[in-house]
């Protein structure tokens, strides 16, 4: 109810509009900063802006956002210059020079800010809001400036989408095409700086960088396409801007910056966990499924190969199946894991327990299970053969990441490979269950001699 009332207030509406545009523009630009590996630059620029803003206030005594823009811009450019100059002319690496510049500028900013606070007119200056942001303190002209700058940033990004893509993916190639990559890089920096500056009053120096990065990282979880990522990132940016602003206007003395950042972080955490392809949970589930599948296949293969040995050495003997222990030995896994896989396979009707001795359960294939195991083993051995004779087969277009080899082969090659398997005595022969029916699913007496 309270929120509804707040929304009726024209002032809040304006502030919200400003925050939406702010969120969109920083979200969109943040994508390129993030992909260009410039995630920290926004932070450095924001911290560097503080002394610029304070100096402008000290010199002019005005709180116009336009003037602040200029002051923060100059300070930001100086900081950018320092960062690149330090890493270029000394042995200090870029991350160190970034940290150095950031803290020095911020330190100077805090000193100036304290000075302003203690001076005569300082108490009303409201500059302390610049630390953590106070969207409610925005006045109409501020909002207009924010909206104008944000709109310009969005339009430029839309126009230069292709060029910025090149810049963040392959600047060397872009330079080869004749695009001035240095200039574009500088322009991107300048745009980042502008989006940081218009965010200062609403979000604050300390956290404005999060507006750039959090939506971009969040969006990355939901798409593999840059165009979609940029749109999504703008959307997340706008949404967290709105949420943060609304929450902070509801509460006396609750700064906007932290609430915006917290809502952006909430989106990020949600994506980190639940994104269907890149999310932690999806990955974990994929990994566990994979592990289970591999375990099952290994157990099937072990059982198959045991049967194979059996039929080779004693083709006609009576035979009850194999215990989990034996299979575990064969494939080198723990017996408990093998037992679990066997019960899973039993549910799939691939194996059955023909007999149960006092010590353990003996397992063998059902006819379907044997068919499946034959397919598995054949595929496995074809791959082995392929890798063994890679020189012979290197002219084939084989995607080694695919699971099955046979469907990728021509009939001629397949029969060549099968012949080769035969020559190595590796052909899995237990395919037709009639020939080995005495090994399978035997009668209740536990086996039938032929």
């Amino acid at each position: 109810m309270n929120i509804w009332l707040a929304l009726q207030d024209p002032n809040t509406q304006w502030v919200l509009m400003g925050c939406v545009l702010l969120g969109i523009s920083s979200g969109v630009l943040g994508c390129f900063a993030f992909l260009r590996g410039r995630s920290l630059v926004g932070d450095a620029l924001a911290h560097a802006a503080l002394p610029g803003v304070c100096l402008v206030y000290l010199l002019t005594g005005s709180k116009s956002i336009g003037l602040f823009l200029i002051g923060a811009g100059v300070a930001g450019l100086l900081a950018t210059y320092c960062i690149t100059a330090i890493s270029r002319h000394t042995r200090i690496k870029e991350d160190t020079s970034l940290a150095l510049t950031l803290s020095v500028f911020f330190g100077v900013g805090i000193v100036l800010l304290t000075h302003i606070q203690h001076s005569a007119s300082g108490n009303q200056s409201g500059l302390d809001k610049f630390l953590f942001g106070q969207a409610a303190s925005l006045v109409f002209t501020d909002v207009i400036t924010i909206m104008l700058v944000a709109a310009v940033l969005i339009v430029i990004t839309a126009l230069l989408f292709k060029e910025f893509t090149l810049l963040s993916f392959d600047p060397g190639f872009g330079r080869g095409l004749g695009f001035p990559m240095g200039l574009l890089d500088g322009l991107l920096m300048l745009m980042l700086l502008m989006s940081v500056v218009i965010g200062l009053q609403a979000v604050g120096v300390v956290l404005v960088a999060a507006m750039l990065i959090a939506p971009a990282v969040t969006a990355r979880y939901w798409t593999d396409k840059l165009s979609k990522m940029v749109l999504l990132s703008g959307f997340f940016g706008a949404l967290s801007g709105v949420l943060g602003t609304l929450i902070s206007t509801q509460q006396e003395n609750l700064p906007t910056g932290p609430t915006i950042v917290l809502s952006a972080t909430a989106f990020f955490l949600f994506s980190l966990l639940f994104s269907p392809r890149r999310g932690v949970l999806a990955r974990m589930a994929r990994f566990l499924r994979m592990r289970k599948k591999v375990l099952r296949e290994d157990v099937m293969q072990a059982l198959y190969e045991r049967l194979e040995e059996q039929t080779k050495s004693r083709p006609t003997s009576v035979y009850h199946g194999f215990g989990a222990e034996q299979l575990a030995q064969k494939c080198g896994k723990r017996a408990t894991a093998v037992r679990k896989a066997l019960y899973d396979l039993q549910k799939l009707a691939f194996v059955s327990e023909p007999s149960r001795t006092e010590v353990e359960t003996l397992w063998t294939f059902t006819p379907e299970g044997l068919k499946e195991a034959h397919r598995l083993v054949l595929n496995q051995r074809l791959w082995d053969l392929y890798h063994m004779n890679q020189n012979q087969y290197h002219s084939l277009e084989i995607d080694v990441n695919q699971e099955e080899l046979a469907p990728q082969l021509s009939d001629a090659t397949l029969s060549l490979m099968l012949a080769q398997l035969n020559a190595y005595d590796l052909t899995p022969r237990l395919s037709d269950h009639h020939s080995v029916s005495h090994l399978l699913h035997p009668s209740k007496q536990g086996g039938l001699s032929l």
Binding site: F161, K162, R175, G176, G178, F179, R220, T223, L226, H394
Partner: protein, 263 residues
């Protein structure tokens, strides 16, 4: 076209490149003929990649100039295609194979314009030329190393250039890709295009390239492969590290082993 074919596709005059104080390439003069596959070979750190980057103006140079078909490089950019080393980009970038190939069209599009349907069709055609049409919508991190290399080649094809620079296109690719690349290079040659390839594998030089440039901080030899790719020139390029036995080339540890085997 009639005018361009009279001039050499690439003339490099007095090219010197220096990182910090140390010159990496010193006064390179080269003039390459049209419609040839040209291998650039030399030991590690000989400045092979530096050479093709400097020629294209991708890195600052200390001196020198490049002419493409008789005009300064800057005016002829559209005639040049480039395949950088595969490791030079982040393959986890949110884009698919087709979009990467489309980047090859960006130079022709110029500022602000977006690629249209015709460009997409052309990019798809380039992808199918390298046998990757089925992978057009695959995220690029899901491609194997060889497939990524082919995407880079398709991107260069999309540039519709006359002169190509390729930085180790054969490095770390599977045999199928290697053959696909060679086939493509020969097609380019038939279309009278000139291709300069930074190459590592000495065994295949004679098989692949019509022309060879031996490079070790300066040009040791350049010319038709049968003239330039000789044991003496290789010795000069690789120094004691190379051992030549008949038509076979062996890399050995140092000059000492050479003496030992001579005794």
């Amino acid at each position: 076209m009639t005018m361009t074919s009279q001039k050499a596709p690439l003339v490099v005059k007095d090219l010197t490149v220096a990182y910090q104080k140390k010159p990496v390439l010193r006064s390179v003069h080269i003039e390459v003929p049209e419609g040839k596959l040209i291998g650039i070979i030399g030991p590690n750190g000989a400045g092979k990649s530096t050479f093709i980057k400097a020629v294209q103006g991708l890195i600052p140079i200390a001196s020198g100039e490049t002419e493409i078909y008789g005009k300064p490089y800057k005016q002829q950019r559209k005639l040049v295609g480039y395949v950088p080393q595969r490791e030079s980009v982040d393959w986890d970038f949110p884009t698919d194979a087709l979009d990467v190939v489309l980047m090859g069209r960006y130079g022709r599009l110029g500022w602000f314009r977006r690629p249209g349907k015709a460009d997409r069709d052309f990019a798809l055609e380039c992808l199918s030329k390298v046998g990757m049409a089925d992978y057009a919508n695959r995220q690029i991190s899901q491609l194997s190393g060889g497939q990524q290399q082919r995407v880079f080649l398709a991107r260069a094809l999309a540039q519709e250039a006359q002169l190509y620079f390729m930085d180790e296109p054969f490095a770390g690719v599977d045999a199928a890709t290697e053959r696909a690349i060679i086939q493509l290079l020969n097609e380019l040659k038939q279309q009278k295009k000139t291709v300069l390839v930074v190459h590592h594998d000495l065994q295949t030089v004679e098989e692949y390239f019509d022309w060879t440039i031996l490079l070790n901080r300066r040009v040791i030899a350049a010319g038709p492969t049968h003239e330039a790719f000789t044991p003496e020139n290789l010795q000069k390029t690789y120094g004691g590290r190379l051992h030549v036995l008949g038509n076979q080339v062996l890399l050995t540890g140092s000059a000492a082993t050479e003496e030992a085997s001579a005794q």
